[in-house]
Amino acid sequence: MSTLEIKDLHVHVETKEGTKEILKGASLTVHSGETHAIMGPNGSGKSTLAYTLAGHPKYVVDSGEALLDGQDILKMTPDERAKAGLFLAMQYPVEVPGVSMTNFLRTAKTEIDGEAPGIRQWAKDLSAAMKRLKMDPKFASRSVNEGFSGGEKKRAEVLQLELLKPKFAILDETDSGLDVDALRIVSEGVNRAKEANQFGILMVTHYTRILKYIKPDIVHVFADGHFVKTGGPELADELEENGYDAYLPEGADSESALA
């Protein structure tokens, strides 16, 4: 049983216009086996929260903590956070030319586990996992994310989630850019991985449609850099009905596009 505690997190980025505060005191606790949906309007800071936890250098932490089983991951390098059990499925997975998926996955697995996986077992696990995600075996020999379609990139993220077995998975807009079939395959992959490893999920999303496939235990509304409301799955239905208008600052334009 693991716990991820985010405590009063304040984060800014440097822009051309100067310092911009994005997270303004975000607090959240997630336990193993729980699925939290983090929903909110565009620009509310949902993705910033995800990338800050993973350690992207662009985001500067001003104050607050993120404790994974008591250890502050904000003091760790990104690779140390991954080794501590954090996984971020990115909205836009990055292409790494010339590095094959196979080599990348094996290198990552070796680093996370602290030892190289046995070749035979690894090859078996990899091909089985790819098959379940309906990925062409040819993907393994292609460069990381290079020339992959949007849907293929998301499947590759879920493939990593299944193979690397983290304690907490942050899914950043994993549903974006997916058609109905791909959404189902990707969601099933997430559910399968969770079933097997009982990790906690922080699912950042703008739309409710992925919640039909990955059932949240807890739904949060995130607006203006912090959590503003927490409820059960029924909160998602309410958002579907009424949009985010109620959570936007006075005079802001709602760009509600609930699916």
């Binding site: 993973a54 790494v96 010339g98 070796t110 030892e115």
Partner: protein, 411 residues
Amino acid sequence: MADTTTPVKEIKIPVADPNDPYAVPAAMPSSVDHAVRSFDVNDYPMPDRKQDEWRYTPIERINEFFTVFKPSGETQIEVSMIDGSPLAEGIKLSQVKLGEGLSGTVSKPNDRVSAVEWNSGATATVLELNGEIAQPVLVKVHGAGEDLDAFHLVIAAADRAHADVVVEHDGDARLAEGIEITTGKDSHISTTFIQEWAKTAKHVGNHRIHVGEGASLRHSVVTLSGDIVRIRMDQDFGGEQGDLNMLGIYFVDPGEHIEHRTMVVHNHPECKSRVVYKGALDGKGAHSTWVGNALIQPTAPGTDSYELNRNLVLTPGAIADSEPNLEIENGNIIGAGHASSVGRFDDEELFYLESRGIPETEARKLVVRGFFGELVEEIGIPAISEHLMDVIDRRLARGEDAAMTQVLEDK
């Protein structure tokens, strides 16, 4: 060279119109007009950084190669098949006095150091290739330390030959090297030159290359270490439909100067050339130079040429000079393109790999491996590309922990 079975193609050589000189660029001065080609050292001035072709070179570090010297003869040369077995059928290995036999037949020296090499050396090693040779030939050049030496190699492929040659350099050396490559009609040849010198080695090389009619040549240079390595490569075609593919990889450590100069000359119609050089530079005072010259002469309509140089600066303080030069004297061509860049690591690529548990240093190695791997894959000859990836991995694996070495080796 007349071949009675193919109809003679008409070549229209443009004639200058004095009223409109830019309509026919061929009427403009060509660099060929003043390029010296001579076996005589005295035809070349002492190199000076004011001269265009020496402007990037730290000449004070290689001035021992500017005057004729007595070679030590200590450089060890071994020739075998790549698996170590004796030379296969179709390969003839011989030694001739410089200036005799096939030596000195591919163009002429083109700068002071290549003329010095010619006049300092005594013999040439000649490798003649005939027919289909399945396995690559390996020429091992082992440097003999600080004594100046000269080495001259001629690779001559017969008409319709299919063969691959790998030339490997290692050890410490002060080596002036002359390479002549000539390929016969409709032959398919690859030559790969690897420099894995000791950190103190100095190597001045000159490749003179002649690609036969309808022939393809893949010429690769992989320079991984050496205090100073400067290689100039001049090429021309022997007839129509020649295909030249030049590929280069270099890895420059602090204080090292690695320089490659390619000179591609399109002198016949419908030939194709590709020059792709990629380098990684690491640390203070690491200096690379790539100068890619391409000349398309009036006699070469239908030319298709492209050259590219990419530099990846791994740590601050390195300098990459990258200079493509195109001289196009014929308007009737398919293409003459170039691209050149010097860049840092992509932070997003590194973050992606790090977020999967890969430490920054390993992530950088993976990215560099990928940067070169893309190029090596293009070689398309498994025996050669595997060999090259091994060499690159060996270079990257310095200081690697045991588990990662294992992963790299399994790859």
